[in-house]
C-alpha cells in the first residue's frame, strides 16, 4: 500500500493565480483509508470543512503552523550549516570559474528557513542571489514576511523552481525528494542539467530501518501538530534509497553525482539526513578541497569503498 502524507492531499492551488482549489474532505479521507492509514483518517476527519470541502483558511493556518514547527526541527538538525558546508566550496569554485551571476534556488522551499538562514549569515557572499521557490502561496507569503521582518536579502516566488526564467547556479532542496515518486526523480534531476547550472544539493531523509523510529521520536518530542507528527514518520517510511537516488541523479548527464555521508558509509544515526549532490566535473576538485577530510564522505555510484572523488573519479574539467 502507498505511504501517503496528509500535507500532499489537503492543499491544491491554481498554478496561474495561486487561488485555492476546492479539496473534498471525503475524497482525502477515502484515499487515506484506501492506503490503510486510519491514524491519518482521524486527523483529517477533525479538520474543519464546509459544504464537503476543507476550509481553505484553516488549511492555510495549519500549513504555516506545521512548517514553522518543521523549521525548528530543521534548525536542531542544523540543516542550514549542512548546506553551507557543501555550498561554500561549490560557490567559491563557481565564482573562480567565472560563472555568474551566482544564484541559488531552493526548490519546494516551504517557508524556507535554509535560504533565510544562509542570507542571515552571509556565509556564501553578498554576490550570491538567494531565491526560494514554492507552489503553496501561503508559504511563499510567510517566507516573504519573515525575510522582510529581518531585512534579509533573499526572495521567494510562487513558481516551479525548474521553470524559472533566471537559471540557478545551484539548485538545493531540503526534505523534498521523498515527495516525488521514484519514477519522476530522473526527470527532476535531468531538468537541472541546464547549461547555466553548476550543480545541485538535495538533502532528504536517509532511508534506513532506523529512520521511521528516529522520525517518530523527533516529531513526537518537537512537534505539536498531529499532521506534522504523522507526516514526519510517513516521510521516513517513503524516503528513497541511496541506489534509487544515485541512479535517478545520473540523469543529469553533464554532472558527476554523489551522496554525502550516506548511512552505509557513516554512523547510520548521524546520517538521518543526507544529500544527493550533482556537480559539473570541473568543480569536483574544488569541492573535495573545500571539504578537506570530510571529502571521504562523498560516495559515487560506482564507489566500492575507496575514497570517492579521488584519482580515477574524473575530476578534470
Amino acid at each position: 500500500m502507498p505511504v501517503l502524507e496528509i500535507s500532499d492531499l489537503i492543499g491544491a492551488w491554481d498554478p496561474d493565480t495561486g487561488a485555492h482549489l476546492p479539496v473534498g474532505k471525503d475524497e482525502v479521507v477515502a484515499r487515506l483509508r484506501a492506503a490503510g492509514d486510519h491514524h491519518a483518517v482521524r486527523i483529517v476527519e477533525r479538520m474543519p470543512a464546509s459544504g464537503g470541502f476543507l476550509e481553505p483558511e484553516a488549511v492555510d493556518r495549519l500549513f504555516v503552523r506545521v512548517h514553522t514547527e518543521l523549521q525548528w526541527l530543521g534548525e536542531e538538525l542544523r540543516m542550514a550549516e549542512r548546506f553551507a558546508e557543501l555550498l561554500r566550496p561549490l560557490v567559491t569554485a563557481a565564482r573562480r570559474a567565472g560563472r555568474g551571476p551566482l544564484r541559488i534556488v531552493d526548490v519546494g522551499c516551504g517557508i524556507d528557513p535554509v535560504t533565510r538562514a544562509l542570507a542571515a549569515s552571509g556565509t556564501l557572499g553578498r554576490d550570491v542571489e538567494l531565491i526560494g521557490a514554492e507552489l503553496n502561496p501561503v508559504l511563499v507569503a510567510e517566507a516573504t514576511r519573515l525575510a522582510e521582518e529581518e531585512r534579509l536579502t533573499c526572495r521567494f516566488v510562487r513558481r516551479n523552481a525548474l521553470t524559472l526564467a533566471e537559471p540557478a547556479t545551484f539548485y538545493i532542496s531540503s526534505g523534498l525528494l521523498h515527495h516525488l515518486p521514484a519514477a519522476s526523480l530522473a526527470g527532476f534531476f535531468g531538468a537541472q542539467d541546464r547549461s547555466d547550472t553548476a550543480g545541485f544539493v538535495h538533502y532528504d531523509i536517509a532511508a534506513s530501518r532506523l529512520a521511521p523510529l528516529g522520525a517518530w521520536v523527533l516529531h513526537r518530542a518537537r512537534m505539536r501538530e498531529p499532521l506534522g507528527r504523522h507526516d514526519g514518520v510517513a516521510s521516513a517510511r517513503r524516503a528513497h534509497g541511496d541506489a534509487v537516488l544515485l541512479d535517478a541523479a545520473s540523469s543529469a548527464e553533464g554532472m558527476r553525482v554523489f551522496l554525502f555521508t550516506p548511512p552505509r558509509h557513516a554512523n547510520p544515526c548521524c546520517a538521518a539526513m543526507r544529500p544527493v549532490i550533482g556537480v559539473r566535473p570541473g568543480l569536483i576538485e574544488a569541492l573535495r578541497r573545500g571539504l578537506g577530510r570530510r571529502a571521504r564522505g562523498l560516495v559515487g555510484p560506482s564507489d566500492t569503498g575507496q575514497e570517492p572523488g579521488g584519482a580515477g573519479e574524473g575530476t578534470g574539467g
Partner: protein, 172 residues
C-alpha cells in the same frame, strides 16, 4: 573549618533549582515552532523566563501545601525530598550531558544528540515525574507529603501547556 550545609538546606534548594531550570526548558519547548524568524535570542530568553516564572508559581503552591506545621514534618519532608532527588537528579544529569553534547560536538554528532538524547528525554519526562512522586510517597502515609508531591508534580507538568496556551497558541 568548612561549613557543609545540612540536608535540610541542600535538598529543598536543589529541588527548587531543578524545578525552575526545568520550567525554563518547558517554557522553551512551549515556544518551540511558533516563531519562524532566524534571529530570535530575545524570544528564547523571554520564553525561558515565562516558563521559569510559571514553575515558580508551582513551587509556591507546593510550599503552601507542604509548609503547614513545618516543625513536626520537617524531617519527613526532607526525606521525601531526598527520595525525589534520587529519581530526578540522574535524569537532570543526562539532560545536561545531552545538551552539552549537542552544543559542543561537531555538527552531525551534535544533531544526533537530538535523536538519541534530548528527544527521548523529553518523551520520558512525565514518567520520571511520576516516578519521583512515587518515590516521595514511599514509606510515608502523611497526606500532606502526598499532597505536596502531587502538587509539585502537577506544577512541573503543567508549565509547558500553560505557557503555550497563554503565550504561544499561534505562530508569531
Amino acid at each position: 573549618m568548612t561549613w557543609i550545609p545540612a540536608q535540610e538546606v541542600t535538598v529543598p534548594v536543589a529541588l527548587a533549582g531543578l524545578t525552575v531550570a526545568d520550567g525554563a526548558f518547558a517554557g522553551l519547548r512551549a515556544a518551540t515552532g511558533r516563531n519562524g524568524r532566524i534571529r530570535r535570542r530575545a524570544y528564547i530568553v523571554t520564553a525561558a523566563g515565562r516558563g521559569a516564572a510559571v514553575a515558580l508559581a508551582g513551587l509556591a503552591a507546593t510550599a503552601v501545601v507542604s509548609l503547614g506545621d513545618l516543625g513536626r514534618r520537617h524531617q519527613a519532608l526532607t526525606e521525601a525530598g531526598a527520595r525525589t532527588l534520587a529519581v530526578v537528579a540522574p535524569y537532570a544529569a543526562l539532560a545536561v550531558l545531552s545538551l552539552g553534547a549537542y552544543l559542543l560536538l561537531p555538527m552531525r554528532e551534535g544533531a544526533l544528540m537530538v535523536v538519541v538524547g534530548l528527544g527521548p528525554l523529553i518523551l520520558v519526562r512525565p514518567i520520571v515525574v511520576a516516578g519521583a512522586v512515587v518515590a516521595a510517597c514511599l514509606g510515608t502515609r502523611d497526606p500532606v507529603i502526598w499532597a505536596a508531591a502531587g502538587t509539585a508534580a502537577a506544577g512541573v507538568l503543567t508549565v509547558e501547556p500553560l505557557v503555550r496556551r497563554r503565550w504561544y497558541r499561534e505562530p508569531l
